[in-house]
């Protein structure tokens, strides 16, 4: 009896949608179904954004031994509303020499592009908006157009420093697209498909109660690690947030934006964070599958969103701990460290696939990856003479 209940709980949103759409005449039902899902996504993820912003401030506060905002509402939960009202009521300044059409369109393009990425994420069993055969390709293609929005923002402001900041941000994002894509290619190699639902289905098996998530394989672990670093750089989060760093000279591509447009940039950045974490969860963490076979009764969408929120916590944790990397250092890091490891990971994934089942392939693949990481890490630091030092004392 309980399995039936939990099954229904798992599919509750699908059932709800069917009920609501069933009210309409048959000709309208497909359109209505899609529209309903779109409305839900557009409503849900900004709400999650408000929650994430609050969690970030409270999380950073707790890391720094202080409370975060707690005056507006109990535990500060109404703080995002206060922030939203504030950004809506601010004066919308457009510089007089700016290209106002592009200036207006830049945040819009950003937000639209990011929302489109949510269309292919499987958020639960049977809960994908569009089940494309080339979902992964679609996702990364659309994700790259966020960089266009940033460049539009920098260009249209007619401000030398905004342009510099925008160019730096775009350079950073383009450099990190390569490791992002390459680490996902290993997943495609394993499953033989670009369809996200098939990728999740490939991970939906259990051995001795443990799941077949790709992160639990050597190439998957390395791939996830590089995907995570690339994600942090793509969304301009610390330690890669030089384009929006306040203590640098260039104030960034959103200098000339105020009020609601600025809030839209902020929204776009956080939504990009959600969507790219969702993609990471789908590719490496098994999407909506449960971590242990005894826990499969918990609804699938709960697992998906838990993994999403876990990624957000890790982002906040990184932000609270790490200082920023300088621009040239982050580019060096991408091209000279992450990219070679990514290429090596492709080779290792191939070795894994063709070595057949057994403990040998675990040992060989892990050994190659660990050795490569240690050697490259040590060589890279030593070449720049970077090492912790010990100090002498005067006699």
């Amino acid at each position: 009896m309980f399995e039936n209940l939990f099954d229904h709980l798992d599919q509750i949103f699908v059932l709800l949608k069917q009920v609501l759409v069933g009210v309409l005449p048959a000709a309208w039902q497909p359109v209505a179904s899609v529209v309903l899902c779109v409305v839900v996504i557009i409503g849900l993820f900004p709400a999650l954004f408000a929650l994430a912003v609050l969690l970030e401030r409270k999380g950073l506060g707790r890391i720094q031994n202080r409370l975060g905002p707690n005056r507006v509402g109990p535990f500060g939960i109404l703080q995002p509303i206060a922030d939203g009202v504030k950004s809506l009521t601010k004066e919308d300044i457009v510089p007089i020499s700016a290209d106002w059409i592009v200036h207006f369109l830049a945040p819009v393009v950003l937000v639209v592009a990011v929302f489109m990425g949510f269309a292919v994420l499987p958020m639960g069993r049977n809960m994908v908006l569009v089940d494309m055969d080339a979902g992964l390709l679609f996702y990364f293609a659309i994700g790259a157009s966020t960089e266009l929005a940033i460049f539009m923002a920098g260009w249209s402001s007619r401000n030398k420093y905004s342009l510099l900041g925008a160019m730096r941000a775009v350079a950073q994002m383009i450099s990190y697209e390569v490791p992002l894509l390459m680490s996902s290619v290993t997943v495609v190699m394993m499953t033989g498909s670009l369809s996200l639902t098939k990728i999740v289905a490939a991970q939906n098996h259990y051995t001795y109660g443990l799941p077949h998530w790709f992160i639990f394989t050597p190439w998957g672990f390395a791939g996830f690690f590089m995907y995570a670093i690339a994600t942090t750089a793509e969304t301009n989060r610390s330690p890669f947030d030089l384009p929006e760093g306040e203590s640098e000279l260039v104030a960034g591509y959103h200098t000339e934006y105020s009020g609601f447009k600025f809030a839209l940039f902020f929204l776009g950045e956080y939504l990009a964070m959600f969507s790219i974490s969702g993609m990471g969860a789908t590719l490496f963490l098994g999407g909506w599958t449960a971590p242990l076979s005894i826990l499969t009764w918990v609804p699938s969408w709960i697992w998906f969103f838990s993994k999403l929120m876990l990624s957000i916590f890790v982002f906040i944790w990184l932000r609270g701990t790490l200082p920023r990397l300088r621009q040239d250092q982050l580019m060096n890091f991408a091209w000279k460290f992450i990219l070679p490891l990514c290429l090596l990971n492709l080779v290792v994934a191939g070795i894994w696939r063709f070595m057949g089942d057994g403990w040998l392939r675990w040992v060989v693949c892990s050994a190659i990856l660990i050795l490569a990481y240690l050697v490259m890490g040590r060589w890279g630091m030593r070449r720049q003479h970077i090492a912790p030092r010990s100090y002498r004392y005067a006699e």
Binding site: R62, N65, R66, W317, T321, G377, M381, P388
Partner: protein, 211 residues
């Protein structure tokens, strides 16, 4: 291993994050004004003038009659930013030892200039000016409210006991000692005068200002 330092840093931050829920020393916020830290006894903000309720000579309101200040103007001279302004009175009053002293007709402190250095307290020979601890003194009147006159500055000795108990007890003990010495001196002087048998010089020196 590359990344070891970063992992150590992350561990440290996580320790603080989870510690802030369980240990008080990892969450240092004091939600002022609902919570306040216990006041420290030695704290000093702005000066005030002490008056004694029991030593009064003459009429007038309690605070005016009992002011310890004798308008010697030492604090005015020593004050670094010169924020004290004193005008001496023309007549004299008796103090707790029975000596006739001037008193301040005007005693203004401009607390927008005062830098809380408490040199005035240090140099005062009469224990008349002490440091108060009230700090929530915001006002919207830029000039008037921040210039405190005699009446606003005068606070009773029990206020001094409340904010600086140890100091006030020491000061009171010292004053009692001085009074005893002065009484003893007056008594011995009176006895000496009586012993010398000087007639006609029946000077009644009060042993202390009457209550």
């Amino acid at each position: 291993m590359l990344g070891e330092g970063i992992l150590k840093g992350l561990a440290e931050t996580a320790k603080n994050f989870f510690g802030s829920y369980f240990f008080a020393e990892r969450l240092t916020t004091v939600e002022y004004p609902e919570e306040r830290i216990a006041p420290i006894e030695a704290a000093r903000v702005f000066p005030f003038l002490v008056y004694d309720v029991e030593n009064r000579d003459g009429g007038g309101p309690e605070w005016e009659a009992g002011l310890r200040c004798v308008a010697c103007q030492i604090c005015e001279k020593e004050c670094p930013p010169k924020c004290i302004y004193i005008e001496k009175s023309k007549d004299k009053k008796l103090d707790y030892l029975g000596k006739a002293q001037y008193y301040p007709a005007k005693f203004d402190i401009d607390i927008s200039v005062c830098m809380s250095c408490q040199i005035c307290v240090e140099v005062c020979p009469f224990e008349a000016i002490k440091m108060d601890t009230a700090f929530e003194l915001s006002t919207t009147d830029r000039f008037g409210d921040l210039l405190l006159d005699r009446e606003q500055l005068a606070k009773p000795n029990e206020h001094y006991h409340k904010i600086h108990p140890t100091e006030a007890a020491a000061v009171d003990a010292h004053r009692a000692e001085e009074k005893m010495k002065a009484d003893a001196k007056a008594k011995s002087a009176a006895e000496a005068a009586a012993a010398k048998g000087e007639t006609g010089k029946m000077e009644v020196k009060p042993a202390g200002a009457g209550a």
